[in-house]
Amino acid sequence: MENIKNVLNKFDMEYVEDYKPTWIKAKLKNKDDLLKVIEALKKEGVKTCSTVSPTDFIDENRIEVNYFLEDLFNKKNVWLKVDLPRELENCEIYSITPLIPSADWHELEAYSTFGVKFKGHPNLRYFLISRDYYGKFPFRKDFDWIAHEQNLIQNINDITEEYFDEYEDYEQNKGHEGSRTVLNWGPTHPASGPIRLKVYTNGENVEKIEPDIGYVWRALENLAERKDFIGTIVAVERICFMDNPNPMICYSQAVEEIAGKEITEFAKYMRVILGETGRIASHLISLGGFFGTMGLHTFMMWCLDIREYFLDVLEDYSGARIATACVEPGGVRYPLNDYKAWFDGINKAIKKFEDTKDDIIDIFMKNPLMNTRAKDNGIFTLEDVAEYYLAGPIARASGAKIDVRIDEPYAAYDKLQMDYVTCENGDARDRLYIIFKELEQAMDLIKQAMVKIEEGIQAGEMDPKKDHLIKMPKRMPAGEAVSRVEWARGEMLMHLVTQEKATNPYRLKLKAPSVNHTMVLDKLLKGKTLSDIPLLYGSMYICQGDLDR
């Protein structure tokens, strides 16, 4: 960490300070120094960009761009800030994409939503937002949403017309040249979900993939700014329905950090249980979906069967199965009136999984045809992980020891026994195995947390009926915080900015792993066949909810 501080101090910085054990926060005075700083940091091993998050301070007439840079393997992270003028003509900065490829789409997103121009970006274009927002930069504070919504019908008609123009262009002009053609894989395709991959094929062979995203863009980051601090949890939980409690944990931690509050032990363990239940619910769908991409739906049905029991657990606690809204700033939302009954439900769910486990291993995990398809297919090396920031299970399948739960422990994870779960080869089959291993780990963590809660209650240290929530201030002080959790599909990072006596977030940046995982699809699928598209795409566990937000 000292090395990085020294490096940063060589440049003209407003401040360089420690932030949390693994972060250094610094602010650059002159925006033209950025590339030199990045180059120097890269020599120190900080060569991955988590996300790029601009904040629009309209009163001070500036846009502050936050770079979250990480050294994945040595756990040294840098939070770098630069100020830019707010006027559209001058709002530009050098792009770091040529140096750090993982920043690519994050810069495009910052350009499309805030109008920050990145000089030297290899392909700067509008991205993610729908066509009617082009050139209007909707996340700027002076964007008039109501005026924009008035032209809704006209905008939709324009989009449709442009789509048909593009379609004719592809069908008639570029369409069929020998055996070369462009196939649409999505957005209404049996296995794609709301994403469109333009597949340039030569017969069965894939030559290039162009992902076209933004079909479920809900402007969640902007939505959060319009709600109060508690109401925001229903915006962040909708980032993806499959792993629902973890985004709320991430957001709540950021709010608690700004308010300077510490939650109770009981709430911390409850967050572990809820978070891991969410992870299990997500992983079970991922497992089933992996085989679904190869036309085998049995496993999906089995997984949904098990998942029902875990959703019952969430329902017993919060009253809802999918959108639970069960974690809020200050702890967890509901008291646990009958903790024994709830624990029985959890044990029943775990037993259901363990009863089926042997069959799953025999029939599916050792399946010879799955081996033929997935083994040595779509390999990611450790260098790829660092270059494109593949997160979570995808990185761990390649053998990278990355897990926010251990690197930067939150909730009660530092008091539980856990270790990095990794595989070695980084092929599609390992990405399946890692999910299965993580399922077992998650259940182990839940068991440990239950034991701790029970001990705490018996020793009189915890009161499940009162300890769940501490009192949070209605109005927050000015401040900002970065919070990270290990989400089911990888690192989730939230950057929260508040203003003095505010009742709602001033800016909430959501970073979710699917963006980077979609970014590498071209590299992953080039030279493969059409049949590999669903398999390898499925093995990245991409969820369009957190891809578009």
């Binding site: 017969g203 069965e204 739906h297 049995t298 049905m301 089995w302 045809l369 033929t372 049949s531």
Partner: protein, 323 residues
Amino acid sequence: MNVGAMLFYILVFPGFLFLLTWMFFVFYFSRKVLAYIHKRVGPHFNGPAGTLQTVFDVFKLLTKESITPKSADPYLFNIIPIITPLVSSLPVILIPWTPLINNGHGILDTEYGVLGLVVLIGVEPFLLFLTGFGSNNKYSFLGGMRILAQMISMETPFFLAALAPALLFGTMNLYEIQSQNTYLTTLILLPGAVIFIIAMLGILEQPPFHIPDAEQEIVYGFYTEYSGTNYVLLKFAEFTEILVVSAAAVVLFFGGYRGVFFDSFWWLFLKIALLAVVMVAIRASNPRLRLDQMLKFCWSWLTPLAILNLVWVIFAKIYILGA
């Protein structure tokens, strides 16, 4: 053969009505078995234990509009769904269904039964390729290309495996083959039967070889543009082909309608149903192969094994049966 019998054969058994009933049955049966393996219930509400569900489904499709896409070739697109079921039900006349018809022979009692079966089954894929070609849709066309590649390679082991019983019994007449079948010859023919069933999965586009209509890859392959009546007709052809090919497997390798205490159509039916269970079980537990992997498997494993199997059959004929 008088006119009345002929009409009965064409319209009732083993013709149209029988094939239609078979379609309803196998549709329902595979759904129910698949649901059991999936830990679901399957069809449940219409009729006792959901038996009427498939009937409703078929009639719902029949009442729906058959859409012909603007870009498709209208004649080719619409005529193939009429030809395909006719061609796929032709082999029905060769198979000895029951001791009650024609003294237990097939309706057409010929010396070239095995050859006729293989040829008539082999025509089908070219028609399905034409559906893909006539749809003028990228996905359909890719599906059509895939079906050609798959058929050309899978028919080789299919034919070689079907030759095994003909060699062993020295005749191509299906009635002769099934009546000479004993427990010993069934054992001798078992490797051939396994190869035949694997190749049959490829011919029928059943999992793990459902490559031509791989829905995660190319939407629905050659079926993509079909809807309503045309779709029902194509599905009817598919189920008829399943019936014919499984009946061929039973007649060639497992003694046809001959059973333990009495000979009857129901023995044939039972054997076909068992085969269907095997097919559904394979479908429920195995993912799809890639096209190139299927070709490799077919040409470097299945075909050589089928040839070796012929050697084994001749060896067994000389030294075990002592011909």
